[in-house]
């Protein structure tokens, strides 16, 4: 008997039996309501079906062509960080029950998943210090855009005051999401020396009514913003404060919610999600109770079963597209639930003390590296503001040449900052807990030599 192609499970005798039951002679007759001229006349032009071992060798070959954080020491950040992911995270996230479930529309057979999502909301709520967190949106960039829309809808104002120290990619997405929705975006500049939001620029923007002030800390230079002041200034003018954050940093840095931020958003990648060449990651949004009706995405809450016992279920669905359609808070349907599971498992493993140590180690190592690099002739820190684990340095040579040189010696040394503010000679370098002292010292040595060779 010939092997069935792909994952098909109907044998020829099954198909005949079923066609007979339906009362047709053939598949062609089964779908004869499709106009004949539309039917494909020849097979699709696709590669010949592969066995599992052929597939493996093809994919392994493609994968082997890529450099990665395994082939090169990764000092790249830009919102995505090479933090350690405990094996337990993969073990749990690859459980078929979680992996192959749909959105928990049937709560009776989804209590495990609902518990995960509910705990995710609670744990992230703690981290952000806000009472309400949704079950995720696509990524950090769309979390920013969705948060901005929340502010617009909640306030009735259509103007946003946005810091230009937010990740450039996130800003691009924000602009696209707002482009056709009658929203005015006013960008505020940054202080070139400190590398933080320019407060004078903010104050002048606040002269006119706006829905929200939106900023990110640490910002796109790795510098921590004075979130407390930003929030206060927004609130003084009856604006909402929307703050983007780096979740790992919150192990030691004061949470945006503590400073009174109305909406807190983040890219969740640093909490147990693989680098995966850019995704899937996870957008997180937290807020105050008063803004709950404007939240996008799923929310899990507590209810009771018919015996009066506590149970979990999706709640407040009247915000969502399947109920409210064009008036929904967002179009999001499929979200990043599996990433939320990973994050919850990650944070459960870390706990209060573990996250604190991950954050502290990352900061210690980054500050060590920065201080050592600053000792090298020609290198200086680009900004004076305090940073967490990512910093900009000015180098006396062409940054892309330097990156290339270091790449040849096994380092992905940093991100060229030209896209941030048109400086040609600036590098953004991120350090995580996974870089050992030996690695850092080796990097410093190779960095110094490469600079010499280039200058």
């Amino acid at each position: 008997m010939a092997s069935l192609p792909g994952y098909n499970v109907l044998r020829e005798q099954d198909r005949s039996h079923m066609l007979e039951k339906i009362g047709v002679d053939s598949i062609d007759q089964l779908i004869d309501f499709i106009p004949a001229n539309l039917r494909l006349q020849q097979p699709l032009d696709l590669p010949v079906a592969m066995s599992e071992w052929q597939l493996k060798s093809h994919l392994t070959e493609l994968a082997s062509q890529n450099e990665s954080a395994d082939s090169h020491v990764c000092f790249l950040g830009g919102g995505v960080y090479d933090h350690h992911i405990p094996a337990v995270v993969d073990t749990i996230a690859s459980r078929g029950e979680f992996l192959t479930a749909y959105t928990p529309y049937q709560p009776e057979i989804s209590q495990g998943l609902l518990r995960v999502l509910s705990d995710f909301q609670l744990v992230v709520g703690r981290l952000f210090d806000v009472p309400v967190v949704n079950c995720s949106v696509y990524d950090g960039a769309t979390a920013l855009a969705e948060s901005a829309w929340m502010a617009i809808s909640a306030s009735g104002e259509n103007r946003l005051i946005v810091s230009d120290t937010i990740w450039p990619e996130h800003l691009e997405v924000l602009h696209l999401y707002m482009a056709n929705r009658d929203v005015e975006i006013e960008m505020i500049s940054h202080d070139e020396s400190a590398g933080t939001c320019d407060l004078a620029s903010l104050e002048s923007a606040l002269q006119q009514p706006a829905a929200a002030v939106i900023a990110q800390s640490p910002n796109c230079f790795g510098i921590l913003e004075d979130v407390k002041t930003l929030v206060q200034k927004a609130h003084q003018k009856d604006c909402l404060a929307v703050i983007g954050c780096y979740p790992t940093s919150l192990g030691i840095i004061e949470a945006p919610g503590t400073h009174g931020a109305d909406i807190v958003y983040a890219e969740g990648q640093s909490l147990g999600l693989p680098l995966a060449a850019g995704g899937p990651y996870m957008g997180m949004i937290g807020t105050r109770e008063a803004l709950i009706d404007f939240l996008p995405g799923r929310l899990v809450g507590e209810t009771k079963d018919i015996k009066g016992e506590p149970a979990l279920a999706l709640i407040k669905q009247e915000r969502e597209q399947h109920v409210r359609r064009h008036k929904a808070t967002s179009h999001i349907c499929s979200n990043q639930a599996l990433m939320a599971l990973r994050t919850l498992v990650y944070l459960s493993l870390m706990g209060e003390s573990g996250l604190r140590r991950v954050a502290t180690l990352s900061a210690q190592k980054a500050h060590y590296l920065c201080a050592e690099l600053e000792k090298v002739a020609g290198i200086s820190k680009s900004y004076q503001g305090a940073f967490f684990n990512e910093f900009c340095i000015d180098v006396p040579v062409n940054a892309s040449k330097l990156i290339e040189k270091l790449r040849q010696q096994g380092f992905h040394a940093g991100i060229e900052c030209s896209s941030h503010d048109n400086s040609q000679d600036r590098l953004l370098i991120a350090v995580t807990e996974t870089k050992s002292l030996d690695t850092l010292n080796h990097f410093i040595q190779v960095f110094t030599q490469s600079l010499k060779k280039l200058s």
Binding site: I22, L62, A63, N66, R115, L275, S334, L338, S348, S436
Partner: protein
């Protein structure tokens, strides 16, 4: 709470209940850095006293989440005929390929020429998707179906802007999924709703009467969310195109068509594919999926950046400098690991395998429909595509209760109004949308049919068993009008809601 909770109790406890201060973060140490002292320069910011995160040992985490997984129903446990969601088997080999370190450990900000294997994969996948759907170009950026819709609609917008036409209306059939109108609104469009005929097709006359210079596009899925192929599709396409409007294909139901018919050949100009439906990437408990968006050649310049394509030297690269592009819809390059799984699925099936996927999906749905027709007559008296819409109106019991009883017999309930992801007009209130998918064998289908019949027999003899189902789950039936509260910790006040 005793951390040694039993399986049944796992769902009742949160990770906070299991916390034992001092047990968390074991092994997060470094021989050369103490992990405690905050760098001086940072001390002004690093003032956080505590996060309030729970502290669990590794073994407690593993047990707790393993137990929770056992209180979650996935395709790996049994048939999941949830209409419109295409809950088919998700091949394990695809997961293994996506986890290869040469993909999973790539940082997206690496130099663009440091990931040629990825660009080749993207390029191949784009070409295969174009072949399967009959489109000319694809972007793999969108994160999910709804995100593909947004991308496609913004592309349509840009097309009309470049032609200096101001069109503000998107037409949407009343049976459309909620994401369609929601995405249209996010793209700045006004939605107008087209009714469905008694035969379950789009009302072409009504559509015609709504056409004017303001209509940018019609969003449609064919087969529709009623499981029917719309035979008037060419006429619909022609009428729209004559009006200067475009046709958008919601690819959520593409599982019925591979190797049989192509949206591009039907006249669609823009399409998204839900890889988590048709191309078998796992749903993950609600996501992540991916929503690649395909277009006809005239729309290609507007696709979001980056665009992966061949440059003048024949090398495949990611291009960012695309003056006509709508811009960026998300960070980086899309849901890469999901796209890898979709690519593996196509390669494992080949052309014949994919055609058979769709044939068998249609065959299975029709077999269910035929086998159940005495009990649950088809809403439309005709053969269906990959899912069938059956009426529960004759059941003499609330279909909502009926399907809950299926849970006790190992079958995930089909889609009902409010219990799945699709929208039905009120007239189909008692209808169930059953999508068995092609990965259920005849034996499994026969068993599912037997379970439907068993429940139907119970209506007369043990009605209460249905009305109070399910009985095999730790939790009892959950009804929608019970008040629900957002879970909150201590100080945070609960707020009222309905668990609709």
């Amino acid at each position: 709470m005793n951390p040694g909770t039993t399986l049944k109790a796992a769902r009742r406890v949160s990770v906070f209940d299991l916390s034992q201060p001092g047990l968390g973060g074991s092994g997060i140490t470094d021989p050369d850095f103490d992990g405690e002292h905050i760098p001086d320069e940072l001390s002004e910011f690093a003032t956080r006293k505590n996060t309030g995160l729970p502290e669990l040992s590794e073994v407690d985490v593993v047990r707790h989440f393993t137990r929770l997984s056992q209180d979650t129903f996935g395709v790996d446990l049994g048939p999941y005929p949830l209409g419109s969601c295409t809950m088919k088997y998700n091949p394990k080999r695809n997961d293994a390929m996506a986890d290869l370190p040469g993909f999973a450990r790539v940082h997206p900000a690496q130099p663009k020429d440091s990931m040629p294997g990825l660009w080749t994969l993207f390029h191949n996948l784009q070409e295969h998707l174009a072949e399967i759907t009959g489109m000319d170009a694809f972007t793999l950026q969108p994160a999910a179906g709804a995100h593909g819709e947004l991308t496609g609609l913004l592309t349509i917008r840009r097309h009309f802007e470049s032609k200096k036409q101001n069109r503000s209306v998107i037409l949407i059939p009343d049976s459309a999924h909620g994401t369609n109108p929601a995405s249209a609104a996010m793209s700045g469009y006004i939605c107008k709703i087209i009714p469905t005929t008694k035969e379950g097709t789009l009302d072409v006359e009504a559509m015609r009467s709504m056409l004017d210079g303001d209509v940018a596009a019609l969003m449609m899925t064919n087969p529709s969310t009623l499981g029917l192929f719309d035979p008037n599709i060419e006429e619909i396409a022609k009428t729209l195109h004559d009006n200067g409007s475009l046709l958008y294909y919601d690819g959520a139901n593409l599982n019925a068509l591979m190797g049989l018919v192509r949206p591009g050949d039907m006249g669609f100009d823009v399409i998204h594919i839900n890889t988590h439906k048709t191309l078998s990437t796992p749903h993950g408990g609600g996501g992540p999926g991916a929503g690649p968006c395909g277009v006809k050649a005239f729309l290609e310049p507007y696709l979001p950046i980056p665009v992966v394509t061949r440059n003048d030297h024949g090398e495949i690269e990611a291009q960012f400098d695309r003056p006509l592009s709508i811009g960026r819809v998300k960070s980086y390059f899309g849901h890469v690991s999901i796209l890898i799984k979709a690519y593996c699925y196509i390669l494992s099936n080949g052309a014949e395998g994919l055609r058979m996927v769709s044939e068998n999906a249609v065959l299975n749905a029709n077999y269910m429909q035929s086998s159940l027709s005495d009990l649950l007559p088809p809403v439309f008296q005709q053969r269906c595509m990959h899912e069938c819409l059956l009426s529960g109106g004759d059941l003499d019991v609330d279909p909502f209760d009926f399907v809950k009883r299926l849970i006790d017999f190992g079958v995930h309930p089909p889609t009902l109004v409010g219990a799945g992801c699709v929208h039905f007009s009120d007239e189909y209130d008692a209808a169930m949308l059953i999508e068995p998918t092609e990965t259920e064998s005849l034996a499994v289908l026969d068993d599912m049919i037997a379970q439907f019949r068993k429940v139907a027999r119970e209506v007369a003899v043990a009605r209460y068993m249905i009305e109070t189902a399910p009985h095999t789950t730790d939790v009892a039936k959950i009804i929608t009008d019970e008040p629900a509260f957002l879970s909150m910790l201590e100080a945070d006040k609960p707020c009222d809601s309905k668990s609709s």
